[in-house]
Amino acid sequence: MGCIVLGCIILAVSLAGLSPYDPYKSDMSARYQPPSLAHPMGTDALGRDLMTRVLYGGRVSLAVGFSVMVITLLIGVPVGAMAGYFGGRVDNVLMRITDAALALPSLLVLILLGAILREVDAPALKQNPVLTIAFVIGILAWMFTARLVRASYLTIREMDFVVATRALGGSNFRIIALHIFPNAIGPVIVEATLEIAYAILEESGLSYLGFGIQPPTPSWGNLLSNAQEYLVKYPWLAIFPGLMIFLSVISINYIGDGLRDAFDPHKVLTKMGEV
């Protein structure tokens, strides 16, 4: 079910190019129009068609969201897994690093990173604001995943089947990746899907500070942060980007739930016996 909704969103977003409106061209005579036939989602502060901007923005926001999720998983899972599995020295060092990263004040780090990135003249960065933003957000978000994964690994490694595998001579890597991972993944999936929504909203916070996706390029996040002032007066400015975020998050969550069930070996067995 979630796939259908998400699929629709992705389709709409990729078809954004079909819109007759230019998302960057202002039209001072048509500012702040409420939704109508000509503009199904209304117009924004510069008279630009909101629907066009929302759809284009979707490309950016979804990209940011997924990228952040990937980054947090890429960093958080290995860190947590190794800490939880090996314990001892490894655990200590990794967890202390995680503690340190947790203590880092996100506000300052964002300011710092944002400014550094502004100075660096690397064309790779300039042409890839999505990756840049995703990197910035991801750097501050992987710790939660790591802790979760570690907790799971701590519990699961004591389980019989792990002990058995070890006795049978399975290599550490095999155990971590193939045996424990599918069992540990439950809470991680829940968390990872929430990362996406978190990432999209964080991006709007970054835009508020001036670092996120820069205008006039639209993103759901920066469309939202501009619209917040006008919640009562021109609610469509906020409702539509917000709605898109809702729908994306919800469908992703449903997919996440589904994935969790798919990975749960117990569930498969019990399904046969009871509901």
């Binding site: 500070l209 820069q214 002032e229 007066k233 609610p235």
Partner: protein, 597 residues
């Protein structure tokens, strides 16, 4: 199972969306309903207020107003932080020698009268280029502990300010050799130069006179405790200060103006969010909002029977475009001129492509007045500088003429025969910066200008940075001081009627040295230097002449593009009378004259 919860969720969302959209359909109805609701509560608030008073020992009702501001004042010493919030509370309790009214004219507070050349208060020694200003203090003003305010306090304040350890720097202090007490109520300020800004030397909205017998000189001007528990000689006394929450003031019974102030109690509440402040005004829970922005002014128009907005008659803050005449990242316009904007024709073209009228109307809600010269305020608004025209076609033609054409058809012009020293084919790409704290009006303006300039062949990438990054020292990498920009847009202006210090800071060649002034554009023009030097005189007719010459030169050279002024407004409840917004000070400057209907 999943299906059920999925549909339920979608249903809930639809219901929510429906509610919200029907909410906006009711938009036109809501204000009238609210108006009829707020009117009764407005009269009620006058009755409710006294019941909130603790232990009313007085028989009569105490009148009270609530002022809402965005930040906690750092202290009562507005000189040190200049945040505006400190000035707001300082005006309530402390007086200066003179203050500025909303027209920009000085008027005496602690002084009997303003010292001028005519009344002998100012004695100029033309030969040595020095002057002495004699301040005669009123004899009827006391500190709230009964000790009279004397010249001793003036000398004490001066000594504290110039203390090398804990003092600070204020405008004009470099020209002061010393302050001498002649008698209890007479002090003489000895200047080593002719300084036109002498009237607000120990006054204005940033300075006050501090009590010699109460403040601890050991602690020092910048951190003494009397900046937190001030001794008052002004209309109000500080009753309590709950950090970050509120301050309570009650009227000073010994205030020197009889019968004033009329309002018994003032509560200053710290309400950081603007939307909440606005709602409090509408609800009648707040009587005065500080620094009301344009969009809120427009929204408050719907509630005009409970809220009024006081606009300053003279504007101060001018929105301008700054050009960096030196290449980005450098500060020498001769050695490394900017590849694009160092050609004055390019700057003129940019001016012709900016539709200030539309910007003012649409984004600043008509509250911005177009200006195009620094000298738009009385008494120097006498120069005849032609208003710039909005003509994008002429702008494009001028760019062609200046050697910038688009030969590869990508919509962005390149240098083909340009005279700035840029290489052949150098594209017209620049970074366009502004500061993020202003708000939506400036953000939209920036986007709009970038779009319009894009139409005539520029490619501007937009950046918004924090103010502290923009205006930091050059050794710390501050963008303006280190010249690390192409063009920016932001607002600035001076307080009072005397532009001399301001002009020096922006246009004098020495001020282009990093961290020495604010000539961020690195504009070097010896003629202008000469004129600025000459303007340090008290002869007003001469100054007018000098300034008009300067206006002409600046209009030809266009080191900055002046666009329009932004409003200085304070919204207040209709029951509060006497509020006069003043661009040169903070709105509480005349608090003693306020009354309640």
């Amino acid at each position: 199972m999943y299906k059920k919860s999925m549909w339920f969720t979608i249903l809930t969302i639809l219901v929510l969306v429906g509610l919200l959209s029907s909410g906006c359909a009711k938009e036109t109805v809501a204000p009238t309903i609210e108006e009829s609701v707020t009117v009764p509560s407005e009269t009620e608030s006058a009755e409710i207020v006294p019941t909130e008073e603790t232990a009313p020992t007085e028989e009569t009702e105490k009148s009270q107003i609530v002022v809402v501001i965005a930040e906690d004042p750092p202290s009562f010493n507005a000189t040190v932080n200049a945040s505006g919030f400190d000035a707001l509370v300082m005006e309530l309790v402390m007086l200066g020698l003179a203050d500025l009214d909303e027209e920009g004219n000085a008027y005496p507070e602690l002084a009997e009268e303003l010292p001028t050349v005519e009344n002998g208060g100012v004695i100029i020694d033309e030969e040595n280029g020095t002057m002495d200003v004699t301040w005669k203090l009123r004899q009827d003003i006391q500190w709230s502990d009964g000790v009279p305010v004397t010249a001793e306090d003036v000398v004490f304040t001066y000594d504290a300010v110039v203390d090398p350890e804990y003092g600070f720097w204020i405008n004009g202090i470099d020209y002061v050799d010393g302050v001498e007490k002649i008698d209890d109520y007479t002090a003489v300020v000895h200047y080593n130069a002719i300084y036109p800004g002498y009237l607000t030397q120990f006054g204005g909205y940033l300075m006050a006179v501090w009590p010699a017998h109460y403040c601890d000189a050991e602690q020092g001007f910048t951190q003494w405790d009397c900046g937190f528990q001030p001794l008052s000689n002004g209309p109000y006394l500080l009753k309590e200060w709950v950090q970050n929450d509120h301050l309570t003031f009650e009227r000073n019974p010994n205030y020197y103006e009889a019968g004033k102030p009329a309002i018994d109690e003032i509560v200053v509440k710290i309400i950081p969010d603007e939307a909440v402040r606005k709602q409090m005004l509408i609800n009648g829970d707040a009587d005065l909002d500080m620094w009301t922005p344009e969009n809120v002014i427009v929204e408050l128009k719907d509630y005009s029977d409970v809220v009024e907005v006081s606009l300053s008659p003279v504007d101060r803050w001018v929105m301008r475009i700054f050009f960096n005449l030196a290449a980005k990242g450098t500060t020498d316009p001769e050695a490394t001129p900017h590849p694009i904007v160092s050609d004055v024709r390019v700057r003129r073209a940019i001016r012709m492509a900016i539709d200030s009228a539309t910007i003012s109307e649409e984004f600043f809600r008509g509250y911005a007045d177009l200006v195009w010269t620094e000298f738009f305020r009385p008494p120097y608004n006498v120069c005849d500088i032609p208003q710039p025209v909005y003509d994008p076609e002429a702008a494009a033609a001028l760019l062609e003429e200046a050697g910038w054409t688009d030969q590869d058809g990508d919509g962005v012009r390149e240098c083909h025969g340009c005279t700035t020293g840029a290489e052949e084919g150098y594209p017209m790409e620049m970074e366009f910066i502004t500061y993020s704290e202003y708000g939506e009006a400036l953000d939209l303006t920036q986007e709009f200008i970038a779009e319009k300039l894009g139409e005539i062949g520029f490619k501007l990438s937009i950046s918004r940075v924090e103010g502290t990054v923009l205006w930091d020292t050059s050794e710390n990498g501050g963008i303006e001081q280190s010249g690390n920009f192409d063009i920016d847009i932001w607002d600035d202006g001076y307080s009072g009627n005397d532009p001399t210090d301001f002009l020096w800071g922006y246009y004098y060649s020495e001020a282009a040295i990093p961290d020495y002034g604010y000539n961020y554009g690195r504009y070097i023009n010896p003629q202008v230097d000469e004129l600025i030097d000459q303007s340090y005189t008290l002869d007003d007719e001469l100054r007018k002449d000098i300034f008009c010459q300067m206006a002409k030169i600046l209009d030809e050279d266009l080191p900055e593009l002046l666009l329009f002024t932004t409003v200085d407004a304070n919204a207040h409840s209709t029951r509060l009378q006497g509020v006069r917004s003043n661009a040169n000070e903070i709105v509480t400057w005349n608090v003693a004259d306020w009354t309640l209907k």
